[in-house]
Symmetry: C2
Subunit: 507 residues, 2 copies
Amino acid sequence: MSTKNACSDLEDLFNPESLALIGASTKPNKWGYIILSNIITCGYKGKLYPINPNHNRILGLHTYPNIDSAPDEIDVAMVATPISTVPEVIKECGEKGVRFAIVISAGFSEAGEEGERAELEMMQTARKAGVRIVGPNTMGVFGAKASMSALMPMVLPSRGGISFISQSGNIGTQLLGLGEKMGIGFSKFVSSGNEADIRCEEYLEYFGNDPETKAVLIYMEGLDDGKKFLDVAKDVTKKKPVVVFKAGKTASGSRAAKSHSGSLAGSREIYNAAFKQSGITEVSTSTEMLYIANAFVHLPLPRGDRTGIISWGGGWGVVATDACEAAGLKIPNLPEDVVRELSTYLPPYWSKNNPVDLVGTLNMNSHRKCLEALVKCESIDGVICLGIIFDSHASTTNPTVGQTGTGVDTPIITKTMERLERQATSKVVNKVMERLKRKMVSKIIRLTNEYNKPIIAVTVSYDDALNTKLLKEGIVAYNTPEKGANTMHKLFEYKRYLSNQEQDFGK
Amino acid sequence: MSTKNACSDLEDLFNPESLALIGASTKPNKWGYIILSNIITCGYKGKLYPINPNHNRILGLHTYPNIDSAPDEIDVAMVATPISTVPEVIKECGEKGVRFAIVISAGFSEAGEEGERAELEMMQTARKAGVRIVGPNTMGVFGAKASMSALMPMVLPSRGGISFISQSGNIGTQLLGLGEKMGIGFSKFVSSGNEADIRCEEYLEYFGNDPETKAVLIYMEGLDDGKKFLDVAKDVTKKKPVVVFKAGKTASGSRAAKSHSGSLAGSREIYNAAFKQSGITEVSTSTEMLYIANAFVHLPLPRGDRTGIISWGGGWGVVATDACEAAGLKIPNLPEDVVRELSTYLPPYWSKNNPVDLVGTLNMNSHRKCLEALVKCESIDGVICLGIIFDSHASTTNPTVGQTGTGVDTPIITKTMERLERQATSKVVNKVMERLKRKMVSKIIRLTNEYNKPIIAVTVSYDDALNTKLLKEGIVAYNTPEKGANTMHKLFEYKRYLSNQEQDFGK
């Protein structure tokens, strides 16, 4: 069977019509209960069969004593039983014709020699039985199409274009959750666990061919077959971006990784060089994984590194310029005709250069015109705009309105009237702000499409919710210029890689 | 008057009993309206006088034609009138005995030669009139004690121990807003503008002596008198931490800074070295400003760089170890007796080393015991704990509960009953989780105080709100291990600086 495995299609794993949970439990502190609850809560679209010999119903679902007694075919079985029972369970899965087993159970190769033997035994059974294994020691799988959140933690990922392989279940599922808060969505996710059977590169290959996957994200601790992975990656990056976070790069980190997933982490330099050659986008912090992968899903690639910066206030312009230059981008001077055009929209004391300082003007019409002038400028490949999308709800949500000691003697009724008037004014202001925000969002989307250049917004936002909202509305928005600069540079690096590849090919 | 200025007390500026707004407006799109609305909304405790010759009432407040006609003494006047009127306004302020004028008006030295002349003229008037000037080109001042949010943007900062000087109003006020979202509070804030009169170092000196200020934060673009600033900083850092973000360090950034606030940015290396010698904690991103300053307010300093890591899942342990080592911290092996003690709380396959991998155990009692064992360990100076504080509300807030296509034919009523049952179970689970969270928070606070070592939490949080909540409850919590490692290292660096100073003193 193992020869067939290498080219198998993982479609049924991520989008199964039927799913069994072997080891379903009635006890809320057991994984067999929590996972079942998660699958139900997420609204899994297929047929769901809890398996437990001691109960007829769990969480309202008819429960079967063993997998054989389930009435239909089963595509995927999740296994949450004690380690000693796993080989037998896998054998039964094979007899039932189950194609994939997601083995939650831990204590295998990650836990020392005895566990290694158990893993070997399980794999022998699985190969004989024709069952492909996810894990063991996995936290589960998510598939957006089937609304399947077959995961240990209570997390309901947003839907989107990222498919994510994580060699740590804990990190993977937490990032799904963070993504949900940030407005960043996923197509598929797998916590690959010990990778006794299906390994990182096989998931990657599948995601490379999967039309729903717009960008691949990998949290990596170590590889069993580095060469194979890099070969696959080199193929995939021709089609779509692959973003990798490699953990265990320092000496202590490597030691910890070995103890965690049993993988040999390898030296930082070797990985960095190999990743670069394969067109992989490497990131170095956990949140970077999310926002960079997401930017690849939503933004066109810049043709070059010449970045335009437009900022409502000068300070963020300075910080953004620093951040861009530190990231390796260029902030070119603007052609005279662009300066002339911008001068017609701005007060005479504006910066006359890139970064374009809007010097705090409240005329949002000018903001939009200046942005367009910068985006269409031929010597600019991408634009970071700062502070030109405003939040609108700061004043209405505040409970202290009118509680001021003004020192003026006003009758209570007048005071109340005036407070209401102020609140009404706030509402009007907010409505205006909301309309202006929508106008700017439409403008950014239109300009992005028209000029095919990436536009990244950095919001003067007192609330992350604004960025989440903007991401959901289809524009990439951050609350720091550093993220904007870093994103633009990563987009540019990938574009440069692709261009070099094409040139090599042309020779 | 200018000789007196250098040693003046800024207490009345940040905590005035009376405040006038010259140029108050009835139009919601004018700063004279927005600022007044902000002051009212924040609940300013002192007496507030709008000044405008054309209206009797603005936003419900009696309005005076000029400052002279205001019935009381005025401590501080905000000036939001056109630049040409400012000298006259300042003169009137002097005649009224106003001590401080916050000059919002722009177009001064930041806008070229003509503006420079106007600034000079204003300053001559101010010196004659005995009025100290904030700005011009400032976005205002915040003082927690007086609940005074005399700021241009609608932002209501949280109260706390940080006092913040920003040479960009835009960046400063946005960070106040972000801080509010993150649970990070401020004692005082000033957007120092062009610093025509009161300069960065004077605010710093005052904050150094102010008992309500536990840490000073500075966003810096450039200095008129670098030596003076460093002398002051060296004094202040003996008493409390000073956190600085220096913008304009790259060539383009420096060019942008010059255009923005007219300041010469200077080279990166010179600033870095000078800051280090003065005990300044330098940060390099905008969010870092907030979370590092806040950590200084809340955490004791570690005696050394030996960091203990405890992680619910192995993956974050690996990432945290990498991050700590990359930041310059040590992850020492644990003494045998500590390993023995930890082994009594954990499954046999735990990592047996630092990082302590809790291997996903759900027994929170063990989590607390393991944490204490690590904190009290004599070869550990500070602890980063990951994933041992859980969120409790994921399952109740989900609208899709029960909307699963289970393929099982159950009557509607049974389904509804079972859905309610599941929701009730969720509520019970959440209540238990909330209690466990509170227990862990108390434990962390107790251990921090008992052993006087910093403990930083990294939450397995799908919601930033958890970290905000935890910060408000008094523990430092982040959603990435990188922030934890960076914080621990900055705390350690400051501690090392203080120790070296003491040794030098002892010689």
